[in-house]
């Protein structure tokens, strides 16, 4: 059982990596696009929506991570009583 858990953890780390939000965002986008295709949407709008949507999601996620890193780097200095 321990090996099964370790095996699962290894693949989770390998595919999902440090930031689970990236994989979750891609999965969500694919589910929405798949629903649109199943409902009969044509290829061009789906392609444009997936491309632009992924780029916007990626940019927003990276900016959010960057802001978090900047704040955590600045926090100790601002709290330093000296």
């Amino acid at each position: 059982m321990r090996y099964v858990g370790a095996f699962g953890r290894f693949w989770y780390d390998f595919v999902v990596g440090d930031d689970w939000r990236i994989a979750a965002g891609v999965a969500l986008l694919v589910v929405v696009a798949a629903a649109a295709v199943a409902a009969g949407a044509s290829a061009t709008p789906v392609a444009v929506a997936v491309a632009v949507g992924t780029a916007l999601l990626a940019a927003a996620g990276t900016i959010r991570s960057g802001i978090r890193l900047t704040r955590s780097a600045a926090a100790p200095a601002s709290r330093d009583p000296r």
Binding site: F14, V15, V16, G17, D18, D19, I22, A23, V26, A27, V30, A33, A34, A35, V37, A38, G40, A43, T44, V46, A47, V50, A51, V52, T54, A55, L56, A58, A59, G61, T62, I63, S65, G66, I67, L69, T70, R71, A73, A74, A77, S78
Partner: protein, 259 residues
């Protein structure tokens, strides 16, 4: 766009493989120079054998079990996730918010850990050097193999992808043997940025084609312009990354000014 898939395949696989092999070389060099080459090279050999077996089994299984459209979707999703992970780190490093990967520092840390690790022998090998070398090559190589298999399958040429990966291995190995030290001067972040852009580009392309599996006829969706959508997607990812780096640099400057 004839040949675009193959050019992208060779460039992406070569660059991604080179980056991973540089990192693996640092670990193996640290073990070989600190604890001895015999055990380190046994670790490398076993890892290469395991990776070759995985490549053969996974390549065969994917071709046999997955219909083309489903394969495009699975490959596209995974490449997109990998591409966005590589891009996010490269963007944060370019904006100065994350420290650059320093092979000299990694090498020093690995050597320090190797010197302090307790001596232990199994099967006639220095077990620490063997295990660390095996893990380093296996884990870095697994990502290379994944990229080579998925790109190879989607572009219809696994041998070409394998040749690109082997070419990168040969170049890195030759450089490592010549320098006899970690390849710290390789511009890793630039390489990772380029690979991230290519993975995201091909990932987006194949995700959309693979979404055809949900269409009533189950056939791959066609991009407007066919293969010419690839350079357009590459420009989209480059523009998005460039804009994100600029925004983050501004955020960092403002935060420093406020604090």
């Amino acid at each position: 766009m004839p040949g675009a898939g193959h050019i992208g395949l060779v460039v992406s696989t070569f660059l991604a493989s080179a980056v991973e092999f540089v990192e693996a070389l640092t670990i193996v060099l640290a073990m070989g120079l600190t604890r001895g080459w015999r055990s380190a090279l046994w670790g490398v050999g076993l890892a290469v054998a395991a990776l070759a077996a995985i490549t053969a089994v996974a390549g065969y299984a994917l071709v046999q079990w997955f219909p083309k459209t489903s394969l495009q979707l699975v490959v596209g999703v995974l490449l997109l996730i990998f591409g966005l992970q590589w891009l996010q780190k490269a963007i944060l490093r370019s904006a100065g918010l994350k420290s650059l990967h320093d092979e000299d520092q990694v090498f020093a840390e690995e050597q320090s850990a190797a010197r302090t690790a307790a001596p232990g022998e199994r099967y006639g090998l220095d077990w620490y050097a063997f295990v660390v070398s095996f893990k380093g090559v296996f884990l870095e190589g697994l990502e290379v193999i994944f990229i080579a298999i998925t790109f190879g399958l989607s572009a219809g040429s696994i041998p070409l992808a394998a040749a690109a990966a082997a070419g990168a291995a040969a170049v890195v190995l030759a450089a490592g043997v010549a320098a006899h030290r970690p390849l710290a001067k390789v511009p890793e972040n630039t390489l990772k940025f380029s690979v991230g852009l290519l993975l995201a580009t091909y990932g987006t392309f194949w995700v959309v084609e693979g979404l055809g599996v949900f269409a009533p006829d189950g056939k791959s969706l066609e991009w407007p312009g066919g293969g010419w959508a690839l350079p357009v997607l590459l420009v989209l990812w480059m523009a998005t990354s460039w804009a994100t780096v600029r925004v983050l640099r501004r955020v960092a400057t403002r935060t420093v000014a406020v604090s």
